[in-house]
């Protein structure tokens, strides 16, 4: 067969694959679009949208601070507090599990694999579902939200910590072992100094996610600004919805900026 024929054949094969892919995609979208139960848009959609937009342009500034009772500042502070206390809990949990899951710290692969399994189990549990369960245990409120975030973030933090440990330089640990340092000393003076910047960076990254999560926890009754927001939505007070979202966007943006500036300095 000449080279030209071969080229032609290869091209035809490639085209065939592409056509197959396209047909598959089209079938997938037909399945998706026609499977969605479309009940039509409710008639109030227009006016409600208009009201929401009006709520954003003329937000309820009086809600920002009120001396007694709940207001925006208290809600946002509570959200921040949930995120902070939650991340602290997950650091405490993630460090031991992360070290357990790191390949280069355990002698046999079963140990690290089991640690990884635990981490990926917790990573697939959504924060919101955890919050629903913790509400049943400690009652509705910010504490349930904090526990949910603490447990939920452990999966991701532990994975990031383990990856950080796996990427470190084995030299220092070996030299400490060579001069007779025990396991704990190897960990404290060989491993930790190397991985701490990475740990801090991963923790800050997760903290940014925690802020967003903490804001939604209130929607299901686990404390924070979400509670005020869902009440405002149900009560159709769109000017209040407007100010809550503005406040939330501002706080999350500030946290993001601070965190990314810190992360840049560390790494």
């Amino acid at each position: 067969m000449s080279q030209r024929d071969q080229l032609k054949k290869a091209r035809a094969k490639k085209r065939g694959k592409l056509a197959l892919l396209l047909i598959g995609l089209i079938a997938l979208y037909v399945w998706a679009i026609f499977g969605i139960e479309f009940k039509g848009i409710q008639e109030t959609a227009g006016p409600v949208t208009k009201n929401i937009l009006k709520g954003f342009t003329s937000p309820d500034w009086s809600y920002v601070y009120s001396p007694n009772g709940e207001d925006l500042i208290r809600g946002l502070l509570e959200t921040l507090a949930i995120a902070i206390a939650g991340i602290f809990l997950s650091i405490l949990l993630a460090i031991p599990v992360g070290l357990w899951a790191a390949k280069n710290l355990s002698k046999n692969s079963i140990t690290s694999q089991s640690g990884k399994g635990v981490l990926s189990f917790f990573r697939t549990l959504p924060d919101i579902i955890l919050a629903l369960l913790f509400i049943k245990v400690v009652g509705p409120g910010a504490f349930a939200g904090m526990l949910a975030l603490g447990i939920g973030a452990m999966g991701m933090l532990g994975k990031l910590y383990a990856e950080e440990v796996e990427a470190m330089d084995p030299g220092p640990v070996e030299s400490i072992a060579a001069v007779g340092g025990n396991k704990l000393q190897q960990l404290a003076f060989g491993v930790l100094p190397q991985v701490i910047p990475g740990f801090i960076s991963a923790t800050l990254y997760r903290f940014e996610i925690n802020m967003r999560s903490a804001a939604t926890l209130g929607l299901i009754g686990a404390g924070g600004i979400g509670t005020s927001l869902i009440f405002a939505i149900q009560g159709r007070s769109w000017d209040r919805v407007g100010i809550i979202i503005i406040g939330l966007v501002v706080v999350v943006l500030i946290v993001d900026l601070l965190s990314s500036a810190l992360r840049k300095r560390i790494t």
């Binding site: 998706a32 969605i36 139960e37 929401i52 509570e78 902070i84 049943k136 245990v137 504490f143 939505i233």
Partner: protein
């Protein structure tokens, strides 16, 4: 002569107190936060039999519930698929506007970036709650919420990829007189397409997880069944739902990961 002499005294160790000060400050903030939200470990310990009871009542999982909820699970997948697709379409113009090496108008890229950053601060569930209020309690609300949420992720990751492309092809095209559209279509797109598809798939993975809980605020999908099962204290059904979601999420992750590995 083998003995060495130290040249003068050792350099002074850096002071430790700023570090300790920092640590104390950090712990104070954590402690204050914990007190502010009333996080009392005692409450947790006192209610630990609640916890054990909850876990015990989860077993055995109600496997039959999986059959009941399958239509809702399929709806969840549909929502994620359509939400990701619509988000992908809208993120295409936005990512070109945000990339500094496409339009050399400083104010335009900066403005687009600020808009994108603001968009990215709003959590998915919150968007769903608002769109459920506008569009009614239907999967449509979830799809719209996921679309907007996807724009934030896809556009952000993609414009960073665009900024990292090789400038060579672009310069040679500009040299032979290509216009802006040709320049983007034949210079930029071939370079970023694999990255873009990979980011879309990654977003799809995130959206499957998100779509599974949107039902809690009335935006369609399997989430509504979580609400129902928890309301009836049917924890065996809750566990069945969790495991079902887990299997679907992991399966889709695996498929998506396989395709992404092939792409890059």
């Amino acid at each position: 002569m083998m003995d060495t002499k130290l040249n003068g005294p050792l350099p002074a160790k850096p002071a430790r107190w700023p570090f300790y000060f920092f640590l104390i400050g950090l712990f104070t903030i954590v402690l204050l936060s914990a007190v502010y939200i009333g996080a009392n470990p005692l409450t947790f310990i006192q209610n630990s039999d609640n916890m054990i009871e909850l876990i015990v009542s989860m077993f055995p999982p109600a496997w039959s519930y999986i059959a009941t909820t399958t239509p809702a699970m399929l709806e969840t997948i549909r929502m994620a698929l359509l939400g990701t697709t619509i988000g992908m379409i809208f993120s295409i113009p936005i990512m070109f506007l945000c990339a500094r090496n496409i339009f050399r108008l400083r104010w335009l890229t900066e403005l687009s970036r600020i808009g994108l950053n603001v968009l990215r601060t709003i959590p998915d569930l919150l968007l769903a709650a608002i769109f459920a209020a506008i569009l009614g309690f239907s999967p449509l609300a979830g799809i719209v919420a996921l679309s907007i949420f996807s724009i934030g992720i896809i556009a952000k990751l993609s414009f960073e990829a665009i900024e990292n492309i090789d400038n060579g092809p672009l310069e040679s095209m500009a040299a032979v007189g290509a216009n802006k559209l040709q320049w983007i279509a034949f210079g930029v797109v071939p370079q970023i397409l694999p990255h873009f598809v990979s980011y879309v798939l990654y977003t799809f993975e995130i959206n499957i997880r998100a779509a599974a809980i949107l039902g809690l605020v009335g935006a369609g999908g399997i989430g509504i069944y979580y609400d129902r099962a928890l309301g009836f204290f049917a924890y065996d059904q809750v566990l069945a739902l969790i495991l079902y979601t887990l299997v679907v999420v992991i399966t889709i992750d695996l498929i998506s990961l396989k395709i992404r590995e092939k792409l890059l």
